[in-house]
Subunit: 218 residues, 4 copies
């Protein structure tokens, strides 16, 4: 049984993870945390799962580090300093970070990575569309996709309706155009992805892991 300490339990992703874990046999929740109930003196667990804001992310990362627990986070907009903290602590504990836990979007990232030389001969662009409540733009996922390329790629954003998350990478050259599109049909896909990754990640030794590591093996 994998024992989870969940940070960000009252956010949209946190609520979905609670709901999904309820029906899993090999994963259980040992404590729930958010801004009102910050992560201190939690019961013993195997890993911290964090879907929160930057301050919540920082606190829960510190906690995992002190307690020497695995740390898995999908919090976006963690900044350069947040990212460096992850790298630093990953010398001591196992850390998994991805701003997007869906297998589909990370499959696209893998394809782009593997075919970089071919795609660099094309003109590139990225479009992402999310629900109107999402404040950061471009999305962390769009930036992850753009960062695959050595040269800057234009990224456009829309905020509208209740779109869980659309991402599109467009490549054009004279005579042809290719589009790689991903649509999350519900937010559950991110929560489900997080649990699928957890089952693999819990057995990883200390180090820094991303979706690329997950895809190498799975």
């Amino acid at each position: 049984m994998i024992k989870v300490i969940l940070n960000g339990c009252s956010g949209k992703m946190g609520l979905l993870i609670e709901k999904l874990i309820d029906s899993e046999e090999d994963i259980s929740l040992v404590s729930l945390h958010d801004e009102k109930n910050p992560l201190e003196n939690a019961p013993q667990g195997d890993l911290v799962i964090d879907f929160s804001s930057k301050p919540g992310f920082m606190k829960s990362l510190e906690y995992a580090y002190k307690q020497q627990l695995h740390f898995l986070s999908g919090t976006t907009a963690i900044g350069k300093d947040g990212y460096e903290k992850l790298k630093e602590y990953s010398q001591t504990i196992a850390i998994f970070y991805s701003p997007n836990m869906s297998l589909g979007i990370n499959f696209l990232a893998k394809i782009l990575q593997e075919n970089l030389n071919f795609l660099l001969k094309w003109d590139l662009g990225i479009l992402e569309t999310h629900h109107r409540a999402k404040k950061d733009a471009p999305s962390g996922t769009a930036m992850m996709l753009a960062d695959i390329f050595p040269n800057p790629v234009p990224v456009n954003s829309f905020r509208m309706g209740d779109i869980p998350g659309d991402h599109k990478v467009v490549a054009a050259r004279n005579g042809e155009l290719i589009e790689f599109k991903h649509r999350a049909t519900s937010r559950e896909v991110f929560a489900r992805g997080a649990l699928e990754i957890t089952r693999w990640f819990i057995n990883c030794p200390r180090g820094f892991y991303t979706m690329r590591d997950y895809f190498k093996i799975n």
Copy 2:
């Protein structure tokens, strides 16, 4: 026989119009002009067709005004002053202006206009994609579409490959998303549209005309 004085004859649109007029029986070219051969002392014609740059647009508009000829222009990025000149001279001559002569895109504009009240309850966005040689962004067409709405609509642009012109208006609200997309499959569509409009426009009295006037009747 409709006698055309063409300004912008060495640009992409100008060349297409020349080619198309060649195979028309009721329209003929009487003189061709561009930066190297500006519009002065042209033989007698019925109308000036202009697909050029802002300076070329201004010169050919002045010429049509002095000669009291019909003036049809599809030049984009003519600025507020260019637009006001059109309005002013249209008190004396017949002027048709549209930054996009395709029937399809103007059909979309008509639909948006007619259903404004319904669409204002939705979150809106516009995306346009054009070939990498197009310098102005957003496209004149995207701005025409955005200007239909009383509130500002976010407009995103890509410049890539040899795309003749893609435009998309997206509308979303909780639970659903609508897209109106238009794709020009070749630049010929703009030239062909210009000639279809010319046949109707040549019989219009002085005044300012746009695609909306064309759709009212045709």
Copy 3:
């Protein structure tokens, strides 16, 4: 307070309607029915809402007719005989029928209807994509869209994943292509639409109503 007798209460749409009505102040459920608990001797209500199968549809329509209640149905694949029954009984009771209760899709239908003459000059096609559990193909909505046109329109279908419902009407002619796309981002949109329509429909006199009537006024 509008009192609803719900048929198809254990189906996906039925469950959503129950959930939504729970949080409405002006609508309440008086009885729930499905195959195991068919619609007989229900407590007094104002209208029957039916989202079921063809047999369930037929039974609940008969019940509404006998009890002289308003009848609103979104059941698909009701066949020609089901449709004729609706027409027949609508001489005595008020009947609203639409295989798709989303405002967006019906807005598209309205646009196609209003611009029929223009669109008939284009080549047309319809594509619909639904979750893999949907058995009938093409969807009732796609057929409703196709039936707007006097000539046959090719309709293509995909069944995959958990897509709540994508519909696309494509129109092409030489040089250009237009797409009208609709995406239901969640099934709730159909339930929410049904309740919005109910508030208007409950005050309608006997007769046969569709989304077109709703749009005329709202």
Copy 4:
């Protein structure tokens, strides 16, 4: 200098290849053939390029075989017997065959091939749209894409307007949807692809080659 014997010279692809070769320095045409001027007693050349119909394909393949020339063909709908002839003769001469010479579409094919195990867990579908003059459906390209998968994949087709060629592979599972789209923005892309491949293919020894071989090396 690569000397080309062109079969199908009066078809759309043939005309484009002639036009492109005109402006190439390392490729030249030595003779042009079509139904009225079939391939017999052509001057000496290095390879036969064939974009024709099935009978034209068969004749030009026989000719290349007799003369022991390289044979490159993009003719679609060649049937099972045509395909077997290619295989048979490739034991003696070098043969390149692809129903679609665009690099983009073949890049998609490569991606699908390389990620077959991942994609087999998803529901799959293919949509292709071509101009109304195209008679065979589904397109040879759509069938090539479908044949990558061991299980049958539903393929849908539209014939409309003057679309040079749209192909889309859709993959969905619970919670997400991926689309791989390719659009030929002009038919030139196929002719240009054929010449790019010719430069590589002319140095290949006898054997049967497809785009996969081209991508392995280039």
